[in-house]
């Protein structure tokens, strides 16, 4: 009995010690590190630390940003730039949370279009902070999408990092082997090319969820953008936003039907929704075509060299006339930043030729007027606009409401795969649009 009691007492003592240790740990944690973005900035020569947040992971955009930070620091030795990588998921929720507690970064990556306008409550309008001469260096087509009402005169909220394209890539060697002599420019030519490529043993057009952050299916808005390019003009796209062109329109249905036919006719791989290796299949040459974006251009040119080229997804019954050329993201200044002057200097630096060279070296297309890109496939895309007279369209998912983008992302891949009906998908999008409050589907962009 006594032995038991002693054992119990020892056990209790052990717990008391554990509890005390834990309490000390808690206290230590409480007095632990606190974050902060460096000392307050007074004169522009006092040492200052700028914090920049991005959600680029370890990709080319991240490389570009890090190199920009290094170059900027050389020019302004008193300003240390701290580039922090944030997870892509919930990135915007994190920014919103930091806006609530007002202790976040000075600059942060922000997507353009409606994303900017959605979050502008905590973004600093850069009119007056970044000199007009610097703003004039930026491709005007890029800058307008970051301002109120998409009118650049209202002052931008975001300085774009790069010009992006949603674009198709194709393998020239595969085309030659299959006897496809010209790049298709409409649906029927696309089907014809598919037939030839399939006969030659290639996957004509590959889809999958590689090239997406973990957990997503393939992003249908590249294709959706081109289907809408094949149906409507740029100005008509406002109708998609306001609802004057409902998502259930017959024209849209017809386009989706043609798109779905790609799958049923064997133009695509059968497992469009669950294929995880689409990038690998294109890079190895097994797949002849792929719809993707400029963030993967360098990856493709490294893997395929001169065999890869760009083409415009020909989702139209008449020869396609537009291309998605849009500065999808850039840096914005937080309205609560204590270092606005220094942050503005960094943003100004982003508009210089030196910055453009750094951005180009990372395999991206600078959004600065008068610069070019050294990657030939990227240059090909720029030529679509400058030489071939293609109309520049924005990214559809940046100019329709976020709720629509979300619901579309869930239904449209299955429309291609055939497990969801077109009517159901479009009706879901239309219902979502109608549920939105009136101020989110007005007749002008906000």
């Amino acid at each position: 009995m006594r032995a038991v009691r002693m054992r119990r007492e020892r056990a209790v003592r052990r717990w008391k010690i554990a509890a005390a240790t834990a309490a000390v740990a808690l206290l230590a944690a409480g007095c632990g590190s606190s974050s902060g973005s460096g000392s307050g900035g007074g004169s522009s020569n006092a040492p200052v630390t700028l914090t920049i947040w991005h959600n680029y992971g370890t990709e080319q955009n991240a490389t570009a940003l890090v190199n920009l930070a290094k170059a900027f620091h050389k020019l302004h030795p008193n300003i240390t730039v701290n580039v922090v990588s944030q997870p892509a998921s919930n990135y915007f929720a994190l920014l919103q949370a930091k806006a609530i507690s007002r202790n976040g970064p000075d600059l942060a990556v922000m997507w353009t279009g409606l994303f900017t306008l959605q979050y502008k409550g905590f973004l600093q309008n850069l009119k007056g902070l970044v000199p007009a001469s610097a703003l004039a260096q930026i491709d005007p087509n890029a800058l307008k999408w970051t301002s109120d009402g998409f009118n650049a005169a209202n002052g931008p909220y975001v300085i774009p990092l790069e010009n992006q394209f949603y674009i198709g890539f194709y393998n020239k060697a595969d085309f030659a082997k299959a006897g496809v002599t010209s790049v298709p420019t409409d649906w029927s030519q696309l089907y014809a090319a598919c037939t030839k490529l399939k006969k030659a043993g290639f996957t004509p057009l590959v889809y999958g969820n590689g090239g997406q952050p973990l957990g997503a299916t393939f992003y249908p808005w590249y294709d959706m953008s081109y289907m809408m390019i094949g149906t409507y003009s740029v100005s008509q796209w406002l109708g998609l936003y306001s609802g004057s062109i409902p998502w259930t329109s017959p024209a849209i249905s017809a386009q989706l039907a043609k798109w779905n036919e790609l799958h049923t006719s064997g133009c695509t791989n059968p497992d469009v929704v669950t294929n995880t290796n689409n990038l690998g299949q294109f890079e190895s040459g097994k797949a002849a075509m792929m719809v993707d974006g400029t963030w993967d251009t360098q990856k493709f040119t490294s893997a395929l060299g001169s065999k890869v080229a760009a083409f415009i997804p020909p989702y139209s019954s008449t020869p396609i006339k537009g291309v998605v050329d849009f500065a999808g993201d850039g840096l914005s200044m937080m309205s609560y930043s204590p270092h606005k002057a220094q942050a503005a200097e960094f943003l100004t630096f982003m508009t210089t030729k030196q910055a453009a060279a750094i951005i180009n070296a990372a395999g991206l297309i600078p959004a600065i007027v008068g610069t070019s890109t050294s990657n030939p496939v990227n240059q090909q895309m720029l030529n679509f606009v400058s030489q071939d007279g293609m109309t520049a369209y924005p990214m559809l998912d940046n100019v329709v409401q976020g709720n629509i983008v979300n619901i579309g992302s869930k239904f449209l891949p299955s429309v291609l795969g055939g497990s969801e009906s077109i009517a159901k998908a479009l009706q879901a999008m239309q219902t979502t649009l109608q549920q939105l409050p009136a101020n989110q589907r007005g007749n002008t962009f906000p």
């Binding site: 119990r8 056990a11 240790t21 007095c31 606190s34 919930n90 590689g210 997406q212 952050p213």
Partner: protein
Amino acid sequence: MAGASAPAAAAPSAPSAPSAPAAPASRWQSARFRRRVTASVIFAVMIVVAVVMLYPFWYMSDNSFRNQAQFDQQRGHSLAGWTGLFRDLPVVQELVSSTVVCVAAIAIILIVATTAGFAFAKLRYRGSGLVFLLIVAAMMVPLQSIIIPEYVNLARFNLTSNYTGAVLVYAALGAPFATFLMATYYRGISDELIEAAVMDGLSYERTFLRIALPLSLPAIATVTVLQFIQIWDDLLVGYLFLPTNDRTITVGLAVLSSGRTTGIPPLMAGSLLSAIPAIIVYLIFQRYLIRGLTLGMGK
């Protein structure tokens, strides 16, 4: 009050009964044979289940020793996953952060849950049933719906600039579950034991500390292991409430799946590394589980 020592003559489940080579020889043999077959079948099934359970570990280990190209092709090995992990993330710092946060939160949870669990199980007072129900009902609060008001509240008290906010939130999230489990366990302790101690002159609080608490080690071990894993693997709270320098490893790993592609091998390496502390905690407390069992059974 069973007289358990009655020699069961033909008890079918007596394992080491001396085999009587007497009359029903074939029936005996078939019963034992049947038992052995059943045991073998059960054992085989358990092995299969074990393989199914262990497969993800093999998947993680195998793929952590590749680079991205080798992962896509599923052939070839290298150290790229591991070097990439340590290059892209401050792994050690994040592991330390995770540990601090877990230890602190679990300490609070245990203090809160053992005391309240005992109170609700043994020390009923007016309204204690309702209060208990309210605490357990709080388990049903979905994290995503309260996390924003929670953040607003804690930001107002400036608790989001260090570990404190996250620790408090984790403690609050785990407390109802832990209290429920402790109360369930304390219910199983006989009232006589408590009353006897009180008759002996101990206060109720002392009784809790010296008698009930040591008896509940299995439940404490269970709470610790389960809460450790839950807190260690949490993403959302750590992401929002912890400043970047104090990140946990789970949030850190999420950075690897940013941008447009995910570097899978470093993610696998990191996930494997992150799983190890939880396994260690389990293996440690597994022994306490057994020790606690003998303590509890030794009346």
